[in-house]
């Protein structure tokens, strides 16, 4: 037993080394930086320790803006994208013909580069000297007035960001949910039909509970993913997100690390730890809620 235990450990070493060096050590490092005031990565010096970094970050209007943006993004996109994906997946699983084709079409955004998608969205939404943008043309067609989605006002930009995020995360969710729906034994539907169960009731009382583990998985990863949003905002609004008022928490961390020639790693670390705490809390709440509503077979 003893020897085989050692052998097993030996196999684990490469993975453990990498995890330690690139995941666990940086985690602790960031945690320590967040308490070191005015840390300079070039000279490896700092003035003192304490909660000043946190205080600074929490009083920074840019951080508060980023926090607000991120929360709005999370609260809107996670339920909306999961809901729409579920509907599309349901639609996909009830059409026998062309199912593969539609599945491929719906999966395309997943393999498309974020920045390329951002460019397409610019064409759709941005007002330039030459064009109003496709969406504005549509709005004009129905008698509305043009809106500048990319430069202001705030709600228009938020709408574009949410729209974009929903669109980019849906393919994966559709894929997962389609296979989840396919894995439900059709005998349950037959049993429900003999008992005269209505379509809505079949959906809410049978289908959803049976695929609830998958929905829950998508919600959790959706929350985490949305909290980490950054590249989507950059793709739409450019690198200067603070100026656009569309920064996210990860964007804020990035700006703090590399902005203003030299950066403020201590503030960045504090913001990162704050994000970590938020995500951890939300995930714990999710887990608690799921105990009642998720049915593992």
């Amino acid at each position: 037993m003893e020897r085989s235990g050692w052998k097993a450990f030996l196999y684990l070493i490469p993975a453990l080394l990498f995890l330690g060096a690139f995941m666990i050590y940086p985690l602790f490092d960031v945690f320590i930086y967040s308490f070191e005031e005015g840390y300079n990565s070039a000279s490896q010096t700092y003035f003192g320790t304490g909660f000043y970094n946190y205080s600074y970050v929490l009083h920074d209007p840019y951080f508060m803006q980023a926090l607000k943006n991120t929360f709005i993004l999370v609260i809107i996109t996670v339920p909306v994208s999961t809901g729409i994906s579920l509907l599309i997946a349901l639609g996909l699983s009830s059409i026998p013909k062309l199912k593969e084709l539609y599945q491929t079409v719906f999966f395309l955004p997943y393999v498309t580069n974020t920045l390329a998608v951002g460019l397409v969205f610019m064409i759709l939404f941005k007002k330039t000297a030459y064009s109003e943008g496709l969406i504005n043309l549509l709005i004009n067609l129905f008698g509305g007035r043009s809106v500048d989605f990319i430069d202001c006002p705030y709600w228009a930009k938020m709408f574009v960001l949410c729209f974009y995020t929903v669109w980019i995360v849906m393919p994966f969710k559709i894929l997962i949910l389609t296979s989840a729906l396919a894995s439900v034994d059709p005998v349950y539907y037959r049993a429900a039909r003999v008992d005269g169960t209505s379509k809505t009731r079949i959906f809410t009382k049978i289908t959803v509970p049976l695929i609830s583990p998958m929905i829950f998985y998508l919600v959790i990863t959706g929350f985490i993913g949305a909290f980490k949003a950054y590249s989507d905002a950059v793709a739409l609004f450019g690198v200067n997100l603070n100026a656009a008022g569309m920064n996210t928490i990860v964007g804020y961390v990035y700006d703090m690390l590399y902005g203003d020639s030299g950066g403020y790693p201590s503030y960045a670390s504090a913001a990162a730890i704050l994000l970590f705490i938020i995500v951890l809390t939300i995930t714990c709440i999710n887990l608690l809620v799921s105990r009642k509503h998720v049915h593992y077979s």
Partner: protein, 368 residues
């Protein structure tokens, strides 16, 4: 509620794209199931018995023909308006609901004037659960139940809405041998208590014979024979039915009739008045042999199997079909194994003759 099937036919389109004929799962069924009976649909796999059940339940639409429950034509009604309870082979209990909520599920679908209050539902659920004796397991999830208990829950769920007809698809196939015996008694008891017309599907003839009031023997979408189990066993309509019913199975021989006498090999074994001369397929039930050293059928003994209650004699004959012939005789009879030969008289009512080509029964009268 009696069930009447009139010229019922179900065709499935051929999946092979190059054309070819449709698959006929159920071919021109025409029979009546009297009210309050327990009926077994019996046949080898692929004979259309499950399709018949699905047609009665309404999950499948017939290609032709009508279905009546009592005087009502239910052919065009969807399953929920037929008043059928269906127990699936895999039980199909909802895994996320406990026993109580599984049984209550059909009641929650009632709308309009049939709508029940919570108390009424609970009363009905408890009644159904008591009937199948699972009222102590109400809080359990299906995964925490044994196969037999799951089956009872499935039956309770089918009965709770007080169906006009109860349908069971292979009710015993997922149970082990001991539980199977117990459960079939249980199904019989529940059916007799509720008096609901019940149709069940099985490929196991013993299962069907043991509890049914009537059995329907099917093959390739065609009904061969309908009758009380003992009648069908004693008086099979053709060779298929004779061979399908009975364990151990009937022994088949190549025989020949000459002048009203049945010959097996060169042995003249039985008077069969009224049968035309020529080759016949002769089936002899294992209990149709009388061991007697003066008997006309002389065969080569292979071995004896002593079961306590009776003795099986395994022997060979040149004219037999299959591997060996099995005769079951009383344990008190002394078998002389020394000579390596055994001789039998035959009981005329245990011998059935058939046309060798078509399997059609050739009946013979009593010998004088």
């Amino acid at each position: 509620m009696k069930i009447v099937l009139k010229n019922l036919t179900k065709r499935f389109p051929n999946r092979n794209k190059k054309g070819g004929a449709d698959v006929i799962a159920v071919n021109d069924f025409d029979f009546e199931i009297p009210d309050g009976m327990l009926v077994g649909l019996l046949g080898p796999s692929g004979c259309g018995k499950s399709t018949t059940l699905n047609l009665i339940s309404g999950l499948e639409k017939p290609s032709e023909g009508r279905i009546f429950f009592g005087e009502d034509d239910v052919t065009d009604l969807p399953p929920e308006n037929r008043g059928v309870g269906l127990v699936f082979q895999s039980y199909a209990l909802y895994p996320h609901l406990n026993v109580f909520r599984n049984i209550r599920f059909p009641l929650e679908n009632f709308r309009g004037k049939d709508r029940l209050t919570k108390e009424e539902m609970e009363k009905r659920v408890v009644e159904a659960a008591k009937l199948v004796q699972i009222d102590h397991l109400m809080e359990r999830k299906p995964s925490e139940l044994s196969g037999g208990q799951q089956q009872r829950v499935a039956i309770a769920r089918a009965l709770v809405k007080m169906p006009r007809v109860l349908l069971l698809d292979e009710p015993l196939s997922n149970l082990d041998a001991r539980l199977r015996l117990q459960t079939r008694e249980e199904i019989r008891r529940i059916q007799q208590e509720t008096k609901i017309t019940t149709v069940f599907v099985t490929h196991d003839q013993e299962e069907a014979m043991s509890i049914s009031d009537l059995i329907v023997v099917m093959k390739d979408g065609v009904v061969h024979q309908i009758g009380k189990p003992q009648d069908v066993y004693d008086d099979p309509i053709d060779q298929f039915v004779a061979q399908f019913l009975g364990t151990p199975p009937i022994n088949m021989f190549d025989g020949e009739v000459r002048n009203g006498q049945l010959y097996i090999g060169e042995d003249k074994v039985l008077d069969v008045p009224g049968v035309r001369d020529g080759a016949v397929a002769a089936g002899i039930r294992p209990e149709g042999f009388i061991l007697d050293y003066e008997g006309p059928l002389v065969c080569e003994l292979t071995r004896l199997e002593v079961m306590g209650r009776d003795v099986s004699i395994i022997f060979k004959d040149e004219a037999m079909k299959g591997e060996a012939v099995r005769a079951i005789i009383d344990a008190k009879s002394r078998v002389d194994t020394g000579s390596g030969k055994v001789s039998f008289f035959l009981k005329p009512d245990k011998v059935h003759l058939f046309e060798p080509e078509t399997g059609e029964r050739l009946r013979f009268g009593k010998a004088e």
